[in-house]
């Protein structure tokens, strides 16, 4: 179906080619997963399939791409659009028109289809994504997941043979992610399309994948083969490259390192159950070695929220939320988009003014606290780091908070230099913040917010839209700050982060606090997880599947939890 031979491409104005001498054949009906660190050219490769490279952007320096026999450089975009459709990452940037119906027929109109044929295609496409009821809705009123479904329907209406999914869930909450993955599974089951996936939530879709292609940072193929073979053979290399691997594969590697002999290498959760069952049967339940740490010394209160309610006009946003956040907590706030997470966080930093007697910071009512005193104690990091930049140089950005706090210039210079060092940004001191890479911008936004030594850090979706390597680096940074005693409050959709980093989790659903406690306890509440559309992180799902037979696995959710298993042999 797709035949890439010796392809070298580059973007205008860049020195280095983004893909080099790359050859690849994808037979019809195959589901191919493309992996690679950010900047490895995954998306660019996808753009060559429907001819956007070179017809719209970039240039082909050598080689060619054939789709169903047609050379993409010689074929018009109109023809290629009927062969290859690409679903992109950003749900907001995929719409040419203002209503669902217009959007679906947009491509058909461009192809000069007879309007009489459009009605049938419109209905089929919408029902394939389960959105027939939304036909006359305006696009802006849809949720992120619905937008992606409509964007997919718009592609399906053009009846392409190849569908490319370029990180379609990266900007979605868990509800949207579930919707997109369910559609993917349906498409795969229907078997009419060749599917190309670029994703990093791998455990959720490994059962669909026939083949894995890994690109290296030079834009060449590092590995190409069946998923089992790739993750089995290259696990260490992949991790070093910053390429994500399914968590069950990481677990399998750990077990191997510990000396277990696995009958086969698992890549899906289902396979992992089969591999683990005999191990567990051979080694009967041991009492969990690591008892949950008991906090002997009572810690001081950071936030005390008492019966906080809030309405946006007539629309209720928070109902009687109460919670206690103590010093040194690592709290994750989870829940679907629009449930009230950000509204709650905004009350904590004074962007929304809580009524007297509802929110206390270190025992003092925020309502009566001067904004400046609040800012000295609490830092807030927004989802998009760019939104927070207020100066034109990295060093000024960090110094800004210090100057606002009224420190004298010598001290400002010294402290900001220290901060830049700590966050690995010293060599960009004079650069414009907007010229930094994605991960550096994120680090800078955290550094700038922590400049005056705030003890509490609130982050809104810190890993949103970040690649895996940056997300991991950021989490390491947050854990280090937490270890120093800082209180971290993090709004997130990523349940893996909740499992790995948080020691407390709050579930907000329709403005109500539905759960507050340890992550492991949340993972045991299937009802609530389903109601809040929260996915168990992969290793927690694995444990939950096995816990009926092996109750001591209840609540396992991270690699560390599986340590008792990996250590059994050594013991």
């Amino acid at each position: 179906m797709i035949d890439v031979s010796a392809l070298t491409i580059k973007y205008t104005g860049r020195k280095r080619p983004i893909l080099r001498d790359l050859s690849l054949q994808v037979p019809q009906g195959q589901t191919l997963l493309i992996l690679g660190a950010s900047g490895s050219g995954k998306s660019s490769l996808a753009l060559t399939f429907n001819g956007l490279i070179p017809h719209s952007i970039g240039e082909v320096l050598g080689g060619q791409v054939r789709v169903a026999g047609a050379d993409t450089q010689q074929t018009s975009v109109a023809q290629l659009a009927q062969r290859v459709g690409i679903l992109f990452q950003d749900p907001d940037a995929q719409f040419a028109t203002l209503t669902v119906e217009d959007e679906i027929v947009f491509g058909l109109e461009n192809l000069c289809l007879d309007p009489a044929q459009m009605e049938a295609r419109l209905e089929t496409a919408l029902s394939q994504v389960g959105m027939l009821h939304a036909r006359h809705r305006p696009v802006y009123a849809l949720s992120g997941g619905e937008k992606q479904r409509i964007a997919l329907a718009a592609l399906l209406a053009m009846q392409p043979e190849v569908l490319v999914f370029d990180e379609p869930t990266a900007n979605l909450d868990s509800v949207g992610t579930q919707q997109v993955f369910a559609l993917l599974a349906q498409l795969k089951a229907r078997g009419q399309h060749t599917l190309i996936l670029i994703e990093h939530k791998l455990d959720e879709l490994m059962h669909l994948v026939d083949r894995v292609l890994v690109l290296d940072s030079e834009g060449q193929i590092f590995a190409d083969g069946a998923p089992r073979e790739i993750f089995d053979r290259y696990a260490a290399e992949l991790q070093e490259m910053g390429v994500w691997t399914p968590q069950v594969c990481m677990l399998a590697q750990e077990l191997r390192l510990a000396g277990h002999v696995l009958p086969s290498f698992p890549v899906t959760i289902g396979e992992a159950v089969k591999v683990l069952a005999p191990l567990l049967a051979a080694h009967p339940a041991q009492s969990a070695s690591s008892a949950p740490p008991t906090n002997a010394s009572p810690r001081s209160s950071v936030y005390s929220i008492r019966d906080l309610s809030f309405h946006y006009g007539d629309i209720p946003a928070l109902h009687n939320v109460s919670m206690e956040i103590s010093q040194g907590d690592f709290l994750a706030i989870v829940g679907p988009n629009g449930a009230g997470k950000s509204t709650l966080a905004r009350h904590l930093i004074g962007l929304l003014d809580p009524p007297a007697g509802t929110v206390f910071l270190s025992e003092r009512d925020i309502h009566a606290l001067e904004p400046r005193r609040l800012a000295e104690q609490v830092a807030y990091v927004f989802q998009n780091p760019e939104h927070q930049f207020v100066t034109e140089r990295v060093e000024d950005e960090v110094a800004y908070g210090l100057r606002v706090a009224g420190l004298d210039e010598a001290l400002v210079a010294e402290q900001s230099r220290q901060l830049l060092d700590t966050f690995g940004l010293a060599r960009y001191a004079r650069a414009n913040p907007f010229t930094l890479s994605h991960g550096e911008k994120r680090r800078l936004s955290v550094a700038a917010m922590l400049a005056v030594g705030q003890q509490t850090l609130i982050l809104d979706e810190p890993t949103f839209g970040q690649d895996e390597r940056n997300a991991a680096a950021l989490m390491a940074l947050l854990r280090a700050l937490n270890a120093q005693g800082k209180t971290i409050i993090m709004i997130t959709h990523d349940m893996r982060l909740v499992a790995e980093a948080a020691d407390k989790v709050a579930v907000i659903l329709e403005g109500r606090l539905e759960f507050f406690g340890q992550p492991a306890a949340l993972f045991a509440q299937e009802d609530l997880l389903a109601r809040a559309h929260l996915n168990l992180p992969p290793l927690a799902r694995l444990a939950a599947l096995m816990a009926t037979q092996y109750p001591h696995m209840q609540g396992w959710s991270t690699l560390q939890d599986y340590q008792t298993l990996t250590q059994m042999v050594r013991v």
């Binding site: 992109f88 719409f95 028109t97 217009d102 461009n110 800012a375 907007f434 917010m449």
Partner: protein, 272 residues
């Protein structure tokens, strides 16, 4: 545009956007030439009736929309007598004087007709703007008046950005407040704020526009010289009825005003 468009199923809503646009432009142009207070007043009343009856706009909604427009007119009414060139009106009785400020009777009557004319010009645009979906208007422009479709659809895609940019601005403003940015009051503060918002807004918007362009290209936008349309825009009998009806009725009204001697001079540049 979306900000003022009120969804509905009325006679006005169902008309072709272009017929509303034509009538709007014709009356608007005529109104520019009037100089008396009566013609604008009559057309304001007529337009309000059309909005209520043919457009089925709820009375309270309409009142809320008209209130700020009326306020603009009132401001004119208050300022105009002071701003008008003295030589034009100093032959009329002097009503009030305070130092060098003089208000003549002539100034007041100029002010009244100007304020009403401004209110009429604003009101006349409402049947079009309150009942027309911007997407339909662009579709009609492209299909019937040969606006190049590449231009039309670029505008449409840009409309999609408006709510995004709005939310972007409010987030940026919150983010800056959290950082302790306090803009100075007045023009300087406004300028500083604009400068600080511009870079993040522009980077976001450009990135967004690039992505949108790619998804449009990916669906064969602009690949062929022509395109077809699922919803064909055309003039129906109701449109012809609306256009001729409005124009004939307006003409009759003007003749009646003329008959009673209420229609003043018609001139574009009134007080030169």
């Amino acid at each position: 545009m979306r900000m003022v468009y009120l969804q509905g199923e009325s006679f006005l809503h169902k008309l072709n956007p272009l017929s509303k646009f034509l009538v709007n432009m014709a009356l608007f142009t005529f109104m520019l030439f009037t100089s008396d207070p009566w013609t604008p007043l009559v057309f304001i009343v007529l337009t309000v009736l059309v909005l209520l009856i043919l457009g089925k706009i709820p009375l309270m909604r309409l009142a809320k929309i008209l209130a700020p427009l009326a306020l603009i007119a009132v401001l004119f009414l208050l300022m105009y007598p002071l701003a008008v060139r003295q030589s034009l009106v100093d032959h009329t009785p002097l009503l009030w004087q305070w130092g060098p400020l003089r208000v003549y009777q002539g100034g007041i009557s100029y002010a009244i007709s100007t304020a009403l004319r401004i209110l009429a010009l604003l009101t006349l645009s409402l049947p079009f703007s309150l009942t027309t979906d911007s997407a339909d208007f662009i579709r009609a422009l492209v299909q019937q008046w040969r606006l190049p479709y590449r231009v039309g659809y670029s505008v449409l895609a840009a409309f999609g950005f408006v709510p995004l940019l709005q939310s972007e601005v409010s987030v940026i403003s919150a983010a800056h407040r959290v950082r302790g940015v306090h803009a100075a009051a007045g023009w300087r503060g406004a300028y500083e704020r604009l400068r600080r918002y511009a870079v993040p807004l522009l980077t976001g918007a450009i990135r967004q526009a690039e992505r949108t362009a790619l998804t449009m290209d990916g669906r064969a936008f602009g690949a062929l010289p022509a395109r077809t349309y699922f919803r064909r825009m055309q003039f129906f009998p109701a449109d012809w009825l609306f256009i001729t009806g409005s124009l004939v009725a307006s003409l009759l009204l003007v003749l009646v005003l003329q008959y009673f001697g209420l229609l003043g001079d018609l001139s574009l540049l009134k007080i030169l």
